[in-house]
């Protein structure tokens, strides 16, 4: 039985392996404990017939030895769990941004995810709360007076190239949202007033749902978007076409403004 959704991320394979191992260990411990409970029930049924089985009032040494040995064994298991998974945690969270990552800013808004690429200059333009206006096409409140904002690409779909490290900035405009990509084994909250950092490397091209995992209001359940992992060439083509479109729009707007 495999309930986990297909994995498409570099760290996901090791994580799935460890998660399955943990689940298997815990499942068999669960079965063993429940068998002991059932045995205790059955033992009582047979003990009823043999009154003589009454043991001494003092706790039997053997049982206590079993108690403490089992406790030591399970403590060793817990320590292994902690150490083995810490490597994964360190690899995914406790590292410095890699060189040449794809940079994307994720913004959660009731009930929509927006993805912003910094454009050719590699710098995110400034945003201002009072400029936020989804109906006029500026859902993030990009400030046109900041030149760095002119080439920023805002998208409702997250497109990423395969096999390149990705550096996400997580933001939220209104309430806390949970950025959750099950297929990338990726989850972190976007908290208003803070900028979160999240790194991962998608490997398998395909479409992956992006969900909200932190209750954010009445539309929480439909706050869903899509991550599309494509080949690096397709990614560059898409980026360039969006870039051209945006520069054209900006030029038209500037022309309109000067007349």
């Amino acid at each position: 039985m495999n309930f986990l959704p297909p994995n498409g991320a570099l760290n996901g394979t090791a994580l799935d392996h460890l998660l399955r191992l943990n689940l298997a260990i815990v499942f068999w411990l669960f079965v063993a404990a429940q068998i002991l409970l059932v045995l205790a029930l059955l033992r009582r049924a047979s003990a009823r017939s043999s009154q003589a089985s009454a043991t001494a009032a003092k706790p039997s040494r053997t049982l206590l030895v079993i108690d403490y040995t089992a406790l030591l064994a399970i403590t060793a298991l817990y320590i292994w769990m902690l150490v083995s998974s810490h490597r994964l945690w360190a690899a995914s969270r406790e590292q410095n941004p890699t060189a040449q990552p794809v940079e994307v800013e994720v913004t959660g808004v009731q009930f929509q995810w927006y993805f912003r690429y910094p454009g050719a200059d590699g710098v995110y333009g400034a945003t201002r709360p009072n400029l936020v206006s989804a109906p006029t096409g500026n859902p993030l409140g990009l400030d046109p007076s900041d030149p760095a904002s002119h080439d920023d690409i805002v998208s409702a779909i997250l497109i990423l190239p395969a096999n390149r490290p990705v550096d996400l900035r997580l933001r939220a405009q209104d309430v806390i949202h949970g950025f959750f990509v099950p297929g990338m084994r990726l989850k972190q909250d976007a908290i208003p007033g803070m900028t979160g950092m999240l790194q991962f490397t998608p490997t398998t091209p395909g479409d992956y749902p992006v969900l909200c995992s932190q209750v954010c209001g009445l539309g929480h359940y439909r706050m869903q978007a899509r991550l599309r992992v494509v080949s690096p060439a397709q990614f560059e083509t898409w980026l360039a076409s969006r870039e051209t479109a945006i520069l054209k729009t900006n030029a038209a707007a500037a022309l309109g403004g000067s007349q």
């Binding site: 003990a47 399970i74 945690w89 969270r93 936020v132 972190q188 359940y221």
Partner: protein, 564 residues
């Protein structure tokens, strides 16, 4: 035994009699648990058949679903899983178990009940205000809970919710101060700390936790109310935009709420479960007729759980964007707390294989408690690993975890306590046959309702989703699982009707009992008003009986020690 009838009105409405207060608390919790269960059934109905309309109300809108979630959790966590083990049961037996003739602060103790009642009334009023009950969940993360513009129910409904929480905190602290003072100052002669029943040790620890944790929650709720109405911004960051409209610029952070809330929230689960753990040890000793084999180990484990429980709150925040090194540290403390918990479980398992197990209904529910505590507890060390939790956080895997380890284990231990102590409430016993039917149906239905949630969680299904729609194709595969959960939930709820019938009918029709029906050793069963204690709480075993009755297999704490 002269116990007034169950439904008899206390002689004075504002009674300070602990037995009367225990009954009042039980009725209060009964109202809460019935309502909380009905709300959860509505949630299950909506998840399984989204278009079904509810009589009178009509169709369940997404905001209604979230209001159901919020109120279900608040009722169950505060008014059932806290009120019964931490208020009803101690009023019923705590002072008796330590041989005290009365509580240390009877009036404070009585006041706590009425403040709790006021809290419940205020909470339920949230259903009837414009826009209805809050939708932010029982964790009420700001800014969703801080700004009325964030959604329906986030105006007056949330104000009432916060007021109810603040009142509950006052009551919980008042009640626990009384319990602490009673345990520390009113023990009868000879009742030193090595002779305390493990339930009393549990109440000592859980009451200390209550004073610390609910004080933090009271502060948090007050600060949030101030943010909403007094222009402060403890939890409001700068630059918030709601529905395209810039909100008041704050200088605070929602992270502060997360820390304060979970500093309360995690000890809260130990407040709810520690009395059940103490009760399990006591009942296992009684129904196997053998002492608790590692009394000191159990006491140390209880103290360690309480102490470590204050330092694990960050495991609710692994994916909040908290410093990842903090995640590592909280993962460590969380794994650490698994060790004393495992020590208790292993000792219970060992106890099961000593002596003869008497399978009366309280014992069955204790076995159920252990079964669920293990089932839910074992996923704890998985969720304690930040790397694994980063996938499982806020999925149905977590819902399965805490419903097994806190809700089901908690409720089964409450049932064990009620069946066991019922003679103290009414002078009669509950019906054994009905009790056993109640147990077996509940056990199977509870596993049917909560175990499959693990699979939904592994598939990545998040919590708090009013419907399973959208681009996630594999959610469709979960619909049969969801349907099975719903049917089990209905069976589980139906089984509780057997309990309610038994509970009320036995009050007048139950078999009347001998003074000490379970042949127990602890002082709540003592016929003597002012006992003096010379021996430990669990002297069971062949030939353990007092000198006058050497054929008996137990030595009550109120009998003088047998010279060897």
């Amino acid at each position: 035994m002269t116990t007034p009838p169950l439904t008899a009105k206390p002689r004075r409405l504002f009674t300070t009699n602990p037995l009367a207060l225990a009954r009042l608390y039980l009725f209060l919790a009964l109202i809460a648990v019935v309502l909380g269960t009905l709300l959860s059934l509505l949630m299950r109905l909506h998840r399984t058949w989204p278009n079904l309309a509810v009589p009178i109300h009509g169709a369940i809108r997404p905001e209604d679903y979230l209001a159901l979630v919020t109120m279900h959790a608040t009722l169950m966590v505060f008014f059932v899983l806290t009120v019964v083990p931490q208020s009803a049961f101690p009023n019923l037996v705590l002072h008796a178990q330590i041989g005290a003739s009365r509580m240390a602060f009877p009036r404070l103790n009585a006041a706590a009940f009425w403040i709790t009642t006021a809290s419940l009334v205020v909470l339920l009023a949230a259903f009837f205000v414009p826009e209805g009950a809050p939708i932010a969940g029982w964790t009420a993360y700001p800014p969703l809970s801080a700004l009325a513009a964030a959604g329906p129910g986030q105006g007056l409904g949330t104000d009432l919710w916060l007021l109810a929480i603040a009142l509950f905190c006052l009551a919980a602290v008042a009640s626990s101060l009384n319990l602490l003072a009673t345990i520390l100052t009113r023990r009868c002669p000879g009742m030193n700390f090595t002779r305390l029943p493990l339930t009393v040790w549990s109440w000592l620890v859980s009451s200390s936790l209550t004073v610390i944790a609910f004080t933090a929650l009271f502060a948090a709720a007050s600060m949030l109310l101030a943010d909403r109405h007094c222009g402060t911004s403890f939890f409001l960051p700068p630059g918030t935009v709601m529905n395209g409209i810039p909100q008041r610029d704050g200088t605070g952070s929602p992270m502060l709420w997360l820390h304060l809330f979970w500093f309360f929230g995690h000890p809260e689960v130990y407040i709810a479960i520690l009395p059940g753990m103490g009760l399990a040890s006591s009942l296992l000793a009684n129904f196997t007729r053998r002492p608790v084999p590692a009394y000191r180990l159990m006491v140390i484990a209880t103290l360690l759980i309480g102490f470590l429980g204050l330092g694990v709150w960050g495991h609710h925040m692994f994916v909040s964007g908290m410093n990842p090194y903090a995640g590592t540290a909280f993962g460590f403390t969380t794994i650490a707390i698994s060790v004393p918990s495992s020590a208790e479980i292993l000792t219970w398992l060992v106890m099961l294989f000593r002596g003869r197990l008497r399978l009366a209904t309280p014992m069955l529910f204790t076995l159920g408690f252990i079964s669920f505590f293990i089932a839910g507890g074992l996923t704890g060390p998985i969720l304690a690993q930040p790397a694994l939790d980063a996938y499982l956080h806020n999925t149905f895997f977590v819902v399965a975890h805490f419903h097994l380890v806190m809700a089901m284990a908690g409720v089964f231990s409450l049932f064990a306590g009620i069946y066991y102590w019922y003679p103290l409430l009414t002078g009669r016993l509950m019906n054994e046959a009905l009790g056993k039917i109640h147990f077996w149906i509940s056990l199977i239905a509870a596993y049917g309702a909560f175990f499959p949630m693990h699979f939904a969680g592994l598939a990545g299904e998040p919590r708090h989703y009013a419907q399973l729609t959208g681009p996630v194709e594999y959610f469709a595969n979960l619909i049969p699982v969801e349907r099975g959960i719903t049917w089990s939930a209905f069976l589980l709820a139906a089984a509780q009707l057997i309990f309610l019938f038994n509970f009320f009918r036995s009050a007048t029709h139950g078999a009347s009992t001998r003074p000490n029906p379970w042949q127990a050793t602890t002082l709540e069963w003592s016929p003597i008003a002012h006992p003096a204690v010379t021996n430990g709480p669990y002297v069971y075993g062949p030939k353990a009986g007092p000198q006058a009755r050497p054929q008996e297999d137990f030595l009550p704490q109120w009998e003088p020690e047998k010279p060897f």
